[in-house]
């Protein structure tokens, strides 16, 4: 039996021009599972952002991390208390 998709759909506005603040935006439809939508809504609430902004921030961060790794740099997450570091691996 064909499984029914039970996720959610949101519309995301992405900048047409990555340089210009006031840049024209393009719309895309994003299909998310219930769990993904719950995570997105949770982040939006915690961060005082709307869902589109959360996704745009995620894209910026992902691109920045990818750029740093391609420059031969390493990205670490440090435990503030113990000072132990774990390397963020993106394969």
């Amino acid at each position: 039996m064909e499984k029914m998709w039970t996720g959610s759909i949101i519309h995301v506005y992405l900048s047409h021009d990555t340089i210009n603040t006031m840049a024209e935006k393009r719309t895309m439809t994003l299909n998310l599972t219930d769990a993904e939508m719950a995570a997105l809504e949770d982040l939006a609430a915690k961060k005082d952002l709307n869902k589109t902004v959360v996704i745009r921030q995620a894209l910026r961060l992902y691109q920045m991390v990818d750029q740093r790794l391609r420059e031969g740099k390493k990205v670490f997450i440090e435990d503030e208390m113990t000072k132990s570091k774990s390397e963020l691996m993106l394969l």
Partner: protein, 206 residues
């Protein structure tokens, strides 16, 4: 690239002067930086060396290379550049990062902000370099631009920055930002933040 009409103030006469805020640093802006700022900065560096002024007393941004900063940041979505021109001359440059830090103020903790990575004013607007100040208002217009960027990106006007020692009073007294003290992770530079309420007060003073 978009531009907004702004005003600067001519220091001697206190008259308002039309100026432009650009939401990017263009190649033309970089040409102006190379041809007009760099020679004055190099001259200042030579003067400081010959006068045996200790390095910790030099203007702390003398070594910033805006060509490198612009080239590196252009492909990255997190980084937004700004320039201010007036009378065909380049008056200020700024680089803002949208993903570098989240707020540290207890009332805003963990929320996103626009972080001012670098901001510079032209040498002829800085008495410590040129002995004169042609225009005032570059810093205020740049802070306002960072606030507008923060609002446009859904961050409600929150901004943050680490201040060079020579500029700390400007951010606390003139801009009304909250001082969070020296940051041991960032060369002990003083860290400042502006909340949404502080941003409103800065943009619409009573």
């Amino acid at each position: 690239m978009e531009k907004s009409d702004i005003f600067l103030q001519r220091s001697i006469t206190r008259e308002d002067v039309d100026a432009e805020l650009w939401d990017d640093i263009s190649d033309a802006h970089l040409d102006l930086w190379r041809s007009t700022w760099v020679p004055m900065i190099d001259q200042t560096r030579r003067r400081l060396i010959s006068a045996a002024v200790p390095r910790h007393k030099w203007p702390q941004d003398l070594h910033w290379n805006w060509g490198e900063k612009t080239d590196w940041s252009r492909p990255l979505l997190s980084l937004q550049r700004f320039a201010i021109t007036c009378g065909g001359a380049l008056q200020g440059l700024m680089l803002v990062n949208l993903t570098k830090l989240t707020s540290r103020l207890p009332s805003q903790k963990g929320k996103d902000l626009a972080y001012i990575e670098f901001v510079s004013t032209a040498p002829w607007n800085r008495p410590e370099i040129s002995g004169v100040q042609q225009f005032q208002g570059i810093g205020i217009n740049m802070v306002r631009a960072a606030i507008e960027l923060s609002r446009n990106e859904g961050f409600h006007g929150r901004i943050g920055l680490h201040s060079l020692g020579q500029a700390a009073r400007f951010y606390s007294d003139t801009c009304g930002m909250s001082a969070l003290g020296p940051d041991r992770h960032y060369d002990d530079l003083d860290y400042f933040e502006m909340t949404p309420a502080q941003a409103d007060a800065f943009c619409h003073p009573a």
